[in-house]
């Protein structure tokens, strides 16, 4: 992407007033620029939940990880983010009227692919909802009950049960049974709760 294109793209992102669209646009631009330098980025956390659910959850920061263990060297990170007029670094930057946090290598157990959205400035990888769901159910219970995490899990479950987000329920079951989580019964319970409210079948029902 050349300097002129970056400039017009940045103007568009800075002018964007919808937080979810702004987030996707910035992820699209960053993914393209880092991808040109050999590092694949993926949107994670609350930003990923927002892109997948429109849950009115995201704040003014975009959380991204790199897909593989290696990332750009610090100097190169600062140079590429410098092309965007970013301030700060080397792991979080203020750019185009929001913040971008680079959280390190992604942690994923699902065998499903990252979800892919072709953003306006290039393709965006989004964290797998199977991982997000099981993780949020865990955080909603441990170390303390967490109502916000539970709402996030409900958002993912609700949008998936209404078939607006394709979820691999066998993967959800498998991940929740892994030693890293061991929360299958809590996932089943949450899915039952949401499925009952939506008057649909619980895909994690043991039968």
């Amino acid at each position: 992407m050349d300097a002129r294109k970056i400039k017009s793209t940045l103007s568009d992102i800075a002018a964007e007033r919808d937080p979810t669209v702004k987030c996707l646009k910035l992820a699209s631009l960053c993914s393209t620029l880092w991808g040109e330098r050999g590092v694949e980025l993926v949107v994670v956390g609350g930003s990923a939940i927002e892109i997948l659910t429109e849950g009115a959850y995201t704040s003014g920061d975009l959380d991204m990880c790199h897909v593989k263990a290696t990332t750009l060297p610090i100097r190169q990170r600062q140079e590429v983010m410098g092309l965007l007029g970013a301030k700060g670094g080397p792991r979080n930057w203020q750019v185009a009227g929001m913040f971008m946090d680079l959280l390190g290598p992604v942690e994923s157990f699902a065998r499903t692919p990252y979800r892919r959205v072709r953003g306006p400035y290039g393709e965006v990888l989004v964290m797998k909802p199977e991982d997000l769901l099981v993780e949020r159910v865990l955080v909603s219970v441990y170390p303390q009950p967490d109502e916000t995490a539970r709402k996030c899990a409900r958002l993912l479950a609700g949008v998936a049960l209404r078939q607006e987000l394709e979820m691999d329920w066998n993967e959800v079951r498998r991940i929740a049974g892994r030693p890293e989580y061991r929360n299958l019964s809590q996932c089943v319970e949450l899915l039952k709760e949401v499925a009952d409210e939506l008057k649909t079948q619980n895909p994690l029902h043991p039968d």
């Binding site: 007033r17 919808d18 937080p19 979810t20 669209v21 702004k22 996707l24 609350g46 892109i51 997948l52 659910t53 429109e54 849950g55 009115a56 959850y57 995201t58 704040s59 003014g60 920061d61 203020q94 009227g97 929001m98 913040f99 499903t112 692919p113 979800r115 892919r116 959205v117 072709r118 953003g119 306006p120 393709e123 916000t148 709402k151 996030c152 409900r154 958002l155 479950a157 609700g158 949008v159 209404r162 078939q163 607006e164 987000l165 394709e166 979820m167 691999d168 949401v194 409210e197 939506l198």
Partner: protein, 69 residues
């Protein structure tokens, strides 16, 4: 016959176009509101200082109303 208009689903495989992602926003918001009504943004986090400074006391931009999606 099912007369419900086809809402683009975020697929496991393949790439969702930007136009289809935009087209599905209202449906996803409506589904989200059924199970977690209102604004679900965290009230606070470790990023509050920088967020509130940038967003004039808020933690982010206001969400677009569902009917405008």
């Amino acid at each position: 016959m099912n007369s419900k208009p086809k809402i683009p689903c975020i697929p496991i495989n393949g790439v969702l176009s930007y136009a289809d992602w935009l087209k599905g926003r209202r449906a996803r918001r409506k589904s989200s509101q059924l199970v977690a009504p209102g604004i679900n943004r965290r009230k606070r986090s470790s990023s509050d200082k920088r967020l509130k400074k940038l967003f004039k006391g808020e933690r982010g931009l206001p969400f677009t109303p569902t009917e405008q999606l």
